[in-house]
Amino acid sequence: MHAIGSPEFWIQQLINALGLGSQYALMAVGLAMVFAVMRLINFAHGTVMMWSAYIGLLLLQRGLPFPLVAAGAILGAATLGALMERIAYRPIRGAPDVTLLLNSFAVAVFLENLAVLLFSPRSRPFPMPALLTQVLHPWGDLFLPSIHLWAFGGALLALGGLAFFVTRTRVGLAMRAAAENPTAAQLMGIEVGKVTLLAFVIGSAMAGLAVLFWVAHIGTIQPGMGFEPVLKAFVACVIGGFGTIPGAVLGGYLLGALEILLQGILPSVVVGYRDALVYAVLILLLLVRPGGVLGYGEAERV
């Protein structure tokens, strides 16, 4: 084997983990918000990301400057989220969990195949401004892709804004109330329907932001790209505490750290089992603490 215990190695891995974790956290938050208000595991979350990436690409090809492209992508994601809520999810609100789950699955497949029809299945490059993709060398041998910094910063801003929103503003509090107990919230005069819509809009906007960093990281977009992010977001939510925003954020960082750690220290013979180990950890966690690390969520055992 080789020298992997050096402090430089660990600092490098920490940087990687923070960057990756920020991306996962942003993706997971949108999923958690939707679950909180509707008890729906929205598999179409990933396809929303994919579509917002394509919207961004279309705007980019029109020659718009990058900040407008980013804004357009986020807006596109938010609009798509609103449309989804109206058309596909509102009519089946209150249905058993499995129906909601299946429906979101179907919406995801539909959106993905629509993209295949319209955009062709091949990968397309998504050129990002150099500011996002350059690599800094702060000291020594360390390399810091600036995208990690941007993701971390973006996550701080967005999540901070969200935290302020749900704790200090009336609408945010209404959302939390509706999430905890829709009936009581309605009795208190909160329009649960509007609040649900808002949750979708904000959650999807977060996804739109997340996908920008994701795409800067990987460089290409293709219709199937949404599948992996939604899976990661899902796992992150469960790890941290399903259906809660702090849980999603914590879960995102923990998942990022776990993946980087395993990839880094496992000997090459077993490093291929990395994903299996991540999921095994997930299952163990569910058994021991179904509410996730933060201990939220239903913990009923039968």
């Binding site: 499995v98 129906t99 299946l102 469960v238 299952i283």
Partner: protein, 384 residues
């Protein structure tokens, strides 16, 4: 009221005939269908039928667990994979094993079993693994089980990719003897449906359904929910594993990619369409979905509309399936049959009633006619 109403338990002599007629008719129909396809010489139809029967096994088994318990298993295709690889490793001729799987441990490398024992062993191995993971997992609730089973699916895939000595990793697993025939799959599918049916109408089935609809109430009457679910999980996994083995010996070449999300989605859709909790529903649902998919697929190269061609529309069958599912969850959540079963006998009974009414002007006795006391009461009341 001590009097019997006309529709009570006493089975009229005619009814017995009808029940037997229904059952034998159904059996004859199936046999006739089977012979038609087997002898028909249409290889394309035969292939579709074999795939259909394997899918029926997968869907019925999934429904046996998910439909009856209300617990969503997203990892069942992992069982299919285990059954496929296990039985394929067992049947592969020794000479081919030396070439394809040089690192296989000696006891496995030196045997080659015939089809049935390999299928059974594959199914049993799958069942044992299911019971082992079921013990911890099934104690969770709601979507946590779904998440855990999802994790199982992914773990299975990762293990298959990495355990190269057994599975050749991502490289195509070839050299599987083509043992699967229409006869084998028909027999197994029939057996599977029969077991599922008997299970549903047994005490165990009732306990499962009770646990699904009202867990606390079921607990209250003494149903051991964890144990009952585990049994269903095990049986379901067994048949899924056997289905995997049949599939493996049908395609004769496969890789871990075949046992992932698209197959999972496929069988879940079929189950939903048929109705979660209905055995015959699963069969009908599979039939409907496969028919629609195949029909749409044949339209993909292009549809002639007037003088020009519309298309090609690649991806039409996938989109069609997604739209079908969305419409279904919106309009008819319970699928085709919901919880009920399609019984040929019931249809024959209704037919019998109609025949009786029409030909012999004999009405099936109704409550009013059979009970003069009620009649009197009614006439007295209507005179007021």
């Amino acid at each position: 009221m001590g009097k019997q109403s006309g529709s009570e338990m006493k089975i009229l002599p005619g009814r017995r005939v009808e029940i037997w007629l229904g059952r034998s008719l159904g059996g004859l129909l199936l046999l006739g269908l089977y012979l038609l396809i087997e002898r028909g010489g249409n290889a394309y139809l035969q292939r579709l039928t074999i795939l259909f029967l394997i899918n029926v096994m997968l869907v019925v088994s999934l429904n046996l667990f998910t439909g009856f318990t209300g617990v969503f298993s997203l990892g069942h295709i992992g069982f299919m994979a285990l059954g496929a690889y296990a039985s394929a490793i067992l049947t592969m001729p020794v000479a081919m094993k030396a070439v394809n799987l040089p690192n296989l441990p000696l006891p496995l490398a030196s045997i080659a079993l015939p089809f049935l024992p390999a299928l059974l062993l594959g199914g049993l191995t799958t069942m044992i693994i299911a019971l082992l993971i079921g013990i911890p997992i099934l104690r969770l609730s709601g979507h946590f089980v779904a998440v855990a089973t999802l994790g199982f699916l992914i773990i299975t895939r990762v293990v298959l990719i990495n355990a190269e000595g057994f599975t050749r990793g991502t490289r195509t697993f070839t050299g599987v003897p083509p043992y699967t025939t229409l006869g084998w799959t028909a027999l197994w599918a029939l057996f599977n449906v029969y077991v599922a049916w008997r299970l549903k109408h047994s005490t165990l089935g009732l306990q499962l359904l009770a646990a699904r609809d009202d867990p606390w109430g079921a607990r209250g009457v003494g149903v051991a929910i964890g144990r009952v679910r585990l049994i269903a999980f095990g049986i379901s996994a067994f048949f899924t594993g056997v289905a995997g083995g049949l599939w493996a010996h049908f395609l004769t070449a496969f890789s871990p990619n075949a046992f992932y999300f698209s197959k999972t989605f496929e069988i879940i859709v079929m189950m939903i369409v048929g109705g979660m909790g209905s055995v015959t529903g699963s069969v009908l649902g599979t039939l409907l979905v496969m028919s629609v998919t195949e029909l749409l697929r044949n339209l993909e190269p292009g549809v002639a509309v007037g003088s020009f061609t519309l298309g090609p529309l690649y991806g039409l069958s996938q989109i069609g399936l997604a739209v079908l599912l969305i419409l279904l969850t919106a309009f008819r959540r319970q699928g085709l049959l919901g919880d009920r079963e399609f019984r040929l006998e019931a249809t024959i009974e209704r037919l019998g009633d109609w025949v009786r009414k029409a030909r012999f002007s004999i009405k099936a006795p109704s409550a009013r006619e059979a009970d003069p006391l009620i009649n009197e009461l009614i006439s007295k009341l209507s005179k007021r």
